[in-house]
Symmetry: C2
Subunit: 210 residues, 2 copies
Amino acid sequence: ARLQQALKLYVVTDERPDGEALLPIVERAIAGGATAVQLRRKQELGRRFVELGRALRELTRRAGVLFFINDRVDVAAIVDADGVHVGQDDISCRDARRLLGPEKVIGVSAETVEEAVAAELDGADYLGVGAVYPTQSKPDAGFTGLDGLTEIVRSVRIPVVAIGGIGLANAGEPMRCGASGIAVVSAVMSAPDPEAAARALRSRVDAERS
Amino acid sequence: ARLQQALKLYVVTDERPDGEALLPIVERAIAGGATAVQLRRKQELGRRFVELGRALRELTRRAGVLFFINDRVDVAAIVDADGVHVGQDDISCRDARRLLGPEKVIGVSAETVEEAVAAELDGADYLGVGAVYPTQSKPDAGFTGLDGLTEIVRSVRIPVVAIGGIGLANAGEPMRCGASGIAVVSAVMSAPDPEAAARALRSRVDAERS
Ligand code: NI
């Protein structure tokens, strides 16, 4: 239940070339009510990834917000993130667990019930499920939709975070499908006012949860 | 001295799209006398990297040959490689050490005396130094040359493996500059007969060392 609470508004960083520029945006997002942050840098080299990870670790720790690293289990361990988020092509949940130990939180991306159930069996602590809406930011992601999300929520016991195309206009729907939270990229990272964007999304989520 | 012996003929895999195809070539290279193998896959996703790493770990363990993973410290730990090889933009030697512990071997790429001395201070177990000759396979690598190699060998106490443009025609020179071994990519991986290529290179190295 504690993890579930912390997954309510999960902000994933975007791939802007200037990684340093992520820091003030994430800081505003947290001020607005983000409960979890994931650093995703698909092309980042290890040295820089660790530097950014350390900076965000400090920021999220001060704020009492969960902090995840996407994909790189080594970076997650080195910066002492709260956990790692892995996709189906990344290091497996079991291997990540072996490296990180039982205390760290491991999230797994799942597009289908089959992937979701397998991830739960592999020891995932939560699932990132989507895309729930059509999206540009991850064009290679499969489309799960709200029906797929609903089916997955009913098939597993671990918390599910909905991702993909979520913005203020549609943030309530995934929650009504049983998601524990919503993950957003551009809705916060590209917002003119990331704090206001996070605050509006958070109140939408809280409204569905109360 | 045991590490030094095991660095004599260090074969680095190439980036061919079909990773599975590396296995028989590495097997032949080991039969020909390779003493160390490094799996380098700059674009490989984690899941596949681990699979390839496990296959090569088995192969190298059976042969009693050192096995390194390039860059990905997590993959090195998961497949129980003998160690990791990191470049100047990768996870730092200190951070890799924190993750891998004192027993694993950490190699660091160095192009200059400054980088070499810093790496030794950071706890590197060996250095990969080059390019000692002009090369196509790593066009972004700085050029160190045999003079640079000689200078670096004199500046550090840890073993130095020369890399970059080394083939049968010039394999003796880096050894005469004080290198503990030579690292090759295409000279073995692209050879029509990788076993014969490795055998010829190995005897060239052994001749210089005796
Ligand atoms: Ni990945």
